[in-house]
């Protein structure tokens, strides 16, 4: 087994090591090469701008020669690079892979499909390209001797990046939050979200939201948005308030340890996806929760 890791990080290098055999890393700068030194048998350095998917894909397609598997993170840019490279190489691309195993020239991998209502077990022949879902491969890549090699390449891109705008990033890091109080369209006005922020504060958590709150109503910045097209979170406690529990929302919270929900509609699908549900008007119960929990915490 020979695996090439592109955009290497600890998780990917560990994932590659679990497959056995040789692990190589493709990086796009000298600095990144230093960062993976001692964690891959071979380090290939391509001097191209990895933000340009066509140039990066050219590097990947070239570097992939002789490898059985190309592993990448499941970021939007990496998926784009993966799609381009896979078509150039004439191989399959599996994205957001949860687990995988290679045997006899065949890769068997699992991923969520159908709005996260099913798990697909997919078999493709090697070589193949895979992007790995975050948080699935936790471990230390073994220490090895690294040989560094330059990838000779004349980078070409027809894309031009005219500007880069950082997204406003408050203190919100939902992916790392231990407790998330999440709000949905059950809240009637923007000002009412204050209640959720207060509850999050007394719980020592952060505030998340469903898509309509961020994308349609724009009551909260997108960094709060949880779900299939938003953030995938894995808190100890996810408390969904006034959220109906559509599959696209649930898709973002599957890895939560405990899910609790408050909704005034007993038939809301969120109750089928929660450990603890309360059928109640959020406007009545949230103030009580704030009060009781702050007493608990404050003594």
């Amino acid at each position: 087994m020979k695996t090439l890791v592109v955009f290497p990080n600890k998780e990917l290098l560990y994932a590659a090591s679990t497959l056995g055999g040789e692990v190589a890393a493709l990086v796009f700068s000298q600095k990144e090469a230093e960062a993976v030194s001692g964690k891959a048998h071979k380090i290939l350095v391509a001097e191209v701008d990895p933000r340009l998917p066509d140039a990066a894909a050219e590097a990947v397609a070239k570097a992939a020669a002789g490898y059985d598997l190309v592993l990448m993170p499941s970021t939007k840019n990496a998926k784009t690079v993966g799609g381009l490279a896979a078509q150039k190489l004439g191989v399959e691309l599996l994205v957001d892979v949860l687990s995988m195993r290679a045997e006899g020239g065949v890769l068997t991998a699992e991923r969520y499909v159908f709005g996260n209502k099913a798990v697909a077990t997919v078999q493709v022949s090697l070589p193949a390209v895979v992007t790995v879902a975050p948080g699935r491969f936790q471990g230390e890549p073994p220490a090895v001797q690294s040989a560094v090699e330059k990838l000779a390449l004349a980078p070409t891109s027809r894309l031009k990046i005219v500007a880069v705008e950082e997204k406003s990033r408050g203190a919100v890091r939902l992916e790392e939050a231990e407790i998330i109080v999440s709000v949905g369209r059950g809240f009637k006005k923007k000002e009412d979200l204050q209640m959720a922020f207060e509850l999050a504060k007394v719980l020592g958590g952060q505030v998340g939201c469903s898509r309509p709150i961020a994308a349609d109503l724009k009551w909260l910045p997108e960094e709060h948005w949880v779900g299939l097209s938003g953030k995938k979170v894995k808190p100890k406690l996810y408390l969904a308030i006034g959220i109906s529990g559509q599959p696209q929302h649930i898709a973002g919270i599957l890895d939560s340890r405990i899910i609790a929900a408050i909704n005034n509609d007993p038939s809301a699908p969120i109750f089928q996806n929660a450990d603890y549900g309360v059928v109640e008007d959020l406007y009545k119960i949230v103030p009580i929760l704030i009060n009781k929990i702050s007493k608990l915490k404050g003594g």
Binding site: G83, K88, E92, V113, K160, V162, L237, G277
Partner: protein, 256 residues
């Protein structure tokens, strides 16, 4: 500017037929939601030229699903596309993504489009790889995850919405662009438009018509996800009592 819009006739994940596994053959098709945004953008951008819908049927059985796929395409035609191409071939059912991209690229060449628009991903498989693959097949540049799009002087300029930042990216035409749901508000077709769409052509093609042959199929099994949650619902009592109960449970779990 001639535009080809990729339309996935996706499995309706709200109506999955489930036994031990997901029965794909019995699950109805619908338009992949994000493709509506691509259609809307095409209708806005096409000017006096035509915009074509392009579908490669992925789910079988062929006979039954072709009919459903035509209904889906009628929806897109009602939104303002001029014509549609439906590639329906036994060999393309559950085909590899390589094959799907080849078939799409062949249709794009056939209609002579300058711009290919697609949704960022499809709602059933959500892999988002087809736009990039089609671009590679055509040898065109690709911009993915566009939440804003302009075409000026033979170039596309898009705001590419990535995890932590937005890139303003420029590419020469012809090009492939995938769009997000935030790019626009797809129109709801009027009754008149729906009726007019019944007369617009849907051209059915096979691989032989396109003069291509394709690789092997993907082997996949789909198991319904069993959600392992306790599903304890607190219904009775005053709001005060319910709050007390919830706090008690959450403390027992050690999460607060």
């Amino acid at each position: 500017m001639k535009i080809a819009v990729l339309i996935k006739t996706a499995l309706d994940t709200g109506q999955l037929r489930v036994r031990d596994t997901v029965v794909v053959e019995e699950t109805p098709l619908k338009i992949s939601d994000i493709d509506r945004n691509a259609v809307e953008e095409a209708v806005k951008l096409k000017g006096k030229d035509k915009a074509y819908g392009v579908t490669v049927l992925k789910w079988g059985p062929l006979q039954k699903k072709v009919q459903e796929a035509e209904n889906v395409l009628r929806e897109a035609l009602a939104m303002g596309l001029d014509e549609a191409y439906l590639v329906a071939d036994e060999k393309l059912l559950n085909a590899s993504h390589i094959a799907t991209a080849k078939a799409i690229a062949a249709v794009v060449k056939k209609v002579g489009a300058d711009l290919v628009l697609a949704g960022e991903a499809t709602v059933d498989n959500y892999t988002g790889q087809i736009p990039a693959r089609v671009a590679a097949e055509l040898g065109w540049p690709v911009i993915t995850y566009a939440r804003e799009l302009k075409v000026e002087g033979g170039r596309v300029v898009a705001r590419r919405d990535l995890e932590d930042h937005v890139e303003v990216v420029e590419a020469p035409l012809p090009a492939v662009v995938s769009v997000t749901r935030e790019i626009n508000q797809p129109r709801i077709p009027t009754l008149l438009a729906i009726r007019a769409a019944m007369k617009k052509p849907i051209n059915r093609l096979t691989l032989a018509d396109l003069g291509i042959s394709v690789e092997p199929k993907i082997s996949a099994a789909y198991k319904p996800l069993v959600i392992q949650r306790k599903k304890i619902v607190i219904k009775d009592g005053t709001p005060e009592e319910k709050a007390e109960k919830l706090i008690q449970y959450l403390r027992q779990e050690g999460v607060i």
